[in-house]
């Protein structure tokens, strides 16, 4: 096992929290020379709307790449069916093999408050690899 993460996985659903997490993960991956995998968990309705996250989120991800100076050839997507927590927990396994998982402090739907539970806390409790929880800057 390397002293530094070689593959960083970051949960990405387009929310301000996810953008903050992806920015941190991308900047860190650049410093460490690591690969970065943007992980998109597709919910039940995602089966009816099969748009590719690479397309949906092309513009904000391009902005992140530019602002962090990250090498886009080291960037990939993992788009899979599931609840965000389950999907991120499995990122330590094939095919992602992440050795660090990064998430925003809340999901997309913070207005629903605790009805959603907290993906980041569940993940931190159960993940087999280190987890970084990135807070959204105030007012974001």
């Amino acid at each position: 096992m390397s002293a530094y993460p070689r593959t960083i996985a970051v949960g990405y659903d387009g929310s301000p929290d996810a953008v903050a997490a992806a920015h941190w993960a991308m900047a860190t991956a650049r410093l460490l020379g690591a690969h970065l995998v943007l992980v998109h968990a597709r919910g039940m309705l995602g089966r009816l709307d099969r748009r590719d996250p690479r397309t949906i989120f092309a513009a904000p991800v391009a902005d992140l790449v530019e602002s962090t100076g990250f090498d886009p050839t080291r960037l990939s997507w993992h788009d899979t069916d599931g609840d965000a927590c389950s999907v991120l927990l499995r990122c330590a396994e094939a095919p992602v093999f992440a050795d660090l998982v990064v998430v925003g402090s809340r999901g997309r739907d913070e207005h629903a408050g605790m009805l959603l539970g907290s993906t980041s806390l569940q993940l931190a409790e159960r993940s087999p690899v280190p987890v970084v929880i990135v807070p959204t800057s105030p007012g974001a």
């Binding site: 919910g43 039940m44 995602g46 599931g82 389950s86 739907d109 629903a112 408050g113 605790m114 959603l116």
Partner: protein, 347 residues
């Protein structure tokens, strides 16, 4: 004899364009009408489940939050799940419907129960709504039975894994949770190595199957892997999380099941009820209305010992290799957890 709850006043729980919609219960009412049971159908009035009954499964803070969220007008809870002003009241009645159907079965000591409700329940966790589900209806009924000393088998044949039900009874040796589901698929849990908590090792049994799975594959998984475990468990009650989104026509997933397959699954589940009056089906998913209607008719007819499937059973789909793999994964996981327990370590 079929024991079913009165139709719910569910029109207020709707999000235009969302597949979990009031027309689903219209389709189910047609399904029940197709059975043409006359005096062999008993309708019972549903009531709201009490706070105590809900709290046997759900955390008090979650119940408070869900009620407050609805009274403020509701909205999207996550990308899949919505609630409206009326949803809190409806969800409590949906949970209560399961309790009154079970009570009526106990009072009569005969019949087959059908809990015709929405929103569905099996994804709802103790402290979290998800996957279209707000309150876990089948778990609330199972918890009530378990509180009376019963040993409850929950068979979940919805195409999605019932992560909520599994988690709620994870460490409960008196509830055996058996699920067949497509994998990978939402919610992402339900691999065979998930076998239950330290006090209930083996009381969770997952049979993940690939897209395209047909009836013969689902039955083989249940017969070869689940049946011996259920026989050893010896349930006193059988509750079925009956989702019909595994039908070939359903847009939410990729199983290839027919109404005839659901009839066969219903007979299979019924065979584990120790006697008449100990079997109830809870509506979970099912989003193609014609497939839902015909599958509910076929299921209930089969459970009542009749045959009304409009489609034959299916066969020849993939999954044989997955069943073998699941058996191996379950066996090694059971061994690992038992070794850890023997060593005194928390698994």
């Amino acid at each position: 004899m079929l024991i079913v709850n009165d139709p719910l006043d569910d029109l207020g729980h709707e999000d235009p364009g969302h597949p979990e919609r009031p027309d689903r219960l219209v389709a189910v009412r047609h399904a029940i009408a197709q059975l043409d049971l006359g005096g062999d159908q008993v309708n019972v009035a549903a009531r709201a489940a009490t706070r105590t009954e809900l709290a046997a499964v759900h955390e008090g803070a979650y119940l408070d939050e869900l009620g407050a969220f609805c009274y403020e007008g509701g909205g999207d809870i996550d990308e899949d799940t919505y609630a409206t002003y009326d949803s809190w009241a409806l969800a409590q009645v949906a949970a209560g419907a399961g309790l009154v159907v079970v009570d009526e079965l106990r009072r009569r000591g005969e019949g087959v129960g059908f809990v015709s409700v929405r929103p569905p329940g099996h994804h709802a966790l103790a402290d979290r709504a998800m996957g279209f589900c707000l309150l876990n209806n089948v778990a609330i009924a199972a918890a009530a039975l378990r509180g009376d000393g019963e040993r409850v088998l929950i068979v979940d044949w919805d195409v999605h894994h019932g992560n909520g039900t599994q988690t709620i009874f994870w460490n409960d040796p008196d509830v055996l949770y058996v699920s067949t589901h497509q994998w990978p698929l939402f919610p992402g849990s339900g691999v065979a190595s998930e076998v239950g908590g330290p006090r209930a090792v083996g009381a969770t049994l997952n049979l993940p199957l690939p897209a395209g799975a047909t009836g013969d594959v689902v039955r083989r998984a249940l017969d070869e892997v689940a049946a011996p475990v259920i026989e050893e468990f010896a349930p006193t009650w059988v509750l079925v999380s009956a989702g019909f989104d595994g039908h070939l026509a359903d847009p939410m997933a990729d199983f290839a099941l027919s109404s005839g397959d659901f009839a066969r699954l219903a007979s299979w589940a019924a065979s584990f009820a120790p006697r008449d009056g100990r079997l109830a089906f809870f509506l979970e998913g099912g989003y193609d209305l014609a497939a839902l209607r015909d599958s509910v008719t076929a299921t209930l007819a089969a459970a009542l010992g009749d045959s009304m499937a409009s489609e034959g059973e299916t066969s020849g789909g993939p999954g044989e290799e997955q069943i073998r793999r699941s058996m191996r994964e379950r066996a090694s996981s059971l061994e690992l957890v038992r070794d850890q327990l023997a060593d005194g370590a928390a698994p």
